[in-house]
Symmetry: C2
Subunit: 399 residues, 2 copies
């Protein structure tokens, strides 16, 4: 993201991305991230009932708290592929284990692409030698590129800082675009760090950071079968170890949250067909879950999203979406503000200058603020508009 290529590296991590012909054309479609030593690992997965084969395997393997490599293909989700899909993923795992000379249990897998399609195992197996041979310190961008599907640009975020008396690096890469919804609102996110951290502490801060970043975005309200976020911490920075309930853990969490914030916002900006970046903040709710429900009711309304795309200041649709959320509130106490302009309060439309409101709708970023007047809990959701291009991209995806 504007950084020089040579700067994107994390001590002890090697990466690579190549094309093995899973996708048509010359695009990269196979990625590998490798830590020179086994790393502490934590992960968050989709809650979809139809979890992909890689998700099923990873969820089991991360329980031991250690991982050393993540291999990921784009062009095929290996989801809804049953036992055969599971075997295919295990075949990839075994082949990589052999090449890297590490235990299979230390290998994690990722897949993204069309659901219900058989994984082209032979192509992947055939490419693993080249993939491993090409591993290098500055290969993270190639790996990210190989994970992309309908993404328009790669999403990489990096932070460096002193934690526990040493310089540490946290670098994350993400693949997003469509099927973006909370409960892991991204298809794939991998974070690499050289921080030395206790696995329980890693697990806690990773879940916290995901909850306040990827779990607050939405592109189309669709939750995928493959959503996976993994963090690997290889400890090579040699910092004073980070453990639970330590002040320095807070510093690490802030850096991690920074990285994930940058990635999650990049995922929304690169939402399929997105032309605008929209924040929906709901304040004054009785509970955080009420605020969240109301915010998503607005963020996922096709009528709200098309109005933003069309720059049509039809604020009544925001009101209708809010009112249909099922969240209890008194309409007399609620208010709606768009881009700083009050449009509705005390059950009455405000005196709106239509051309000024139109101007707000014409901006690239639009902030919607809802006050429910029913408590002190809040939630903020980031989303995008619904455009012709969303329909176009998704009307012709698999064929």
């Amino acid at each position: 993201m504007g950084k020089e290529k040579t700067k994107i590296n994390v001590p002890g991590f090697l990466a690579n991305g190549i094309s093995v012909g899973i996708k048509e054309g010359p695009q990269k479609d196979l990625a590998l991230i490798y830590s020179s030593v086994p790393a502490k690992v934590a992960a968050v997965f989709t809650k979809n009932t139809f979890k992909s084969a890689p998700v099923i395997i990873d969820a089991e393997r991360v329980k031991k708290g250690l991982a050393q490599a993540i291999i990921t293909n784009s062009g095929c989700a290996n989801a809804a592929t049953g036992k055969e899909g599971y075997q295919d993923a295990m075949t990839v795992s075994a082949a990589l284990s052999k090449q890297l000379k590490i235990k299979e249990e230390l290998i994690l897998l990722g897949s993204t692409g069309v659901i219900g399609k058989k994984l082209p195992v032979k192509k992947i197996e055939g490419g693993i030698g080249k993939l491993v041979k090409g591993l290098n310190e500055f290969g993270i961008e190639d790996a990210e590129e190989a994970m992309m599907t309908t993404d328009k640009y790669p999403k990489i975020a990096i932070r460096r800082g002193i934690v526990g008396a040493k310089d540490i690096t946290i670098c994350g890469i993400a693949k997003g675009a469509g099927m973006i919804e909370p409960n892991m609102a991204t298809l794939l996110t991998y974070v690499m760090t050289d921080a030395l951290i206790d696995v329980k502490a890693l697990n806690t801060v990773f879940h916290q950071a995901i909850d306040s970043t990827f779990n607050t975005i939405s592109v189309d309200g669709c939750m995928s079968t493959n959503d996976t976020a993994i963090i690997m911490a290889n400890g090579l920075a040699g910092n004073n170890p980070l453990e639970r309930a330590q002040a320095r853990l807070q510093r690490f969490r802030d850096m991690l949250t920074d990285v994930l914030t940058e990635l999650s916002l990049a995922v929304v900006k690169d939402g399929e067909g997105a032309t605008k970046f929209i924040s929906i903040t709901v304040d004054g709710a009785k509970s955080r879950s009420d605020a969240k429900k109301a915010a998503y009711s607005i963020a996922n309304s096709n009528l709200v999203k098309t109005a933003f795309f069309g720059e049509d200041p039809n604020w009544g649709r925001i009101l209708a979406a809010l009112g249909s959320s099922g969240v209890p509130f008194e309409k007399e106490k609620a208010s709606i503000t768009i881009g700083g302009m009050l449009v509705f309060s005390q059950d009455t439309p405000a005196a709106i200058q239509l051309n000024k409101l139109q101007g707000i709708y014409q901006k690239d970023r639009i902030d919607v603020h809802v006050q429910l007047g029913n408590g002190d809990k809040s939630y903020c959701v980031y989303t995008s508009d619904l455009s012709y291009d969303y329909v176009k991209i998704n009307a012709d995806y698999s064929t």
Copy 2:
């Protein structure tokens, strides 16, 4: 709907539809339905917190069980208009009461169009004389036309039959197109009948019939501020009275359900930008609400809807939407069938003939059948696809 114009009438009901300039251009925008005698009435309204002024007034008035007229404007929803909007609606009610020489309590109101816009009361008041003067036995089609917004064609359904030893008529009109979602999945539906029926029985059968028709459709998952369904029964058929727990009431309910089925399916077919009619049936659920939740999770998925529009047989999206519904089931027991072709069962994709499946996606009507293998409850939802035209229509609605 294919019937001759002169046939659309219900004994004792007069109607009319005219243009009073609420919409730009010559389109009709003010409708009146009038029964020569006070009629028994039942109604179902939106559950939106921001109910429109007409909904608030109607909900109060129908409690008495009698009504004689419904006046409806298109071009303005009179919702989110506060006390002023309420007063505006009351002004219309008073003016019509004077013209018709009936009590205000017998008058119901309907509005549809942009939310948050002030009702042009003067235009409506100015047109009421002409509207009442033009009331006629065959005016139902004009009334329907005046209720249309983005509807492409009028929606009228009529049934005649012998009930309680007399010929009775049931005729319904509906206005739909966008903001179509259960909990009254239509903006406005009015049903007229000359049947003689007890008001409690009317209320019961109307709710039952709505529940199995309008509450099972979805165009865009957006619930409006104005959704209203009203039935008026003026008793002029002189049939043996219909009361609760009578066999002949069942016959009336069947006819009514027929009328509402035809109207609700017409609303889906005329969904904004719709090019396909899609049914989603979920069987084998533990409860009806589970089946409903799963069916709507699929019906409201933008990724499923765009794939149907693009005729892209990407069935994995149906599976992903099902798996993200939050409904508990075992994936090994679930199956998905599209247009009679099994695509997924026993956690494994079926041997799909892609060109045959493509052929199914190319049809105007597509039936999706999901078996959860978890019980014996079912639900069926009717919906449409998501097209460029949906985005186009809704990106530029209010301005």
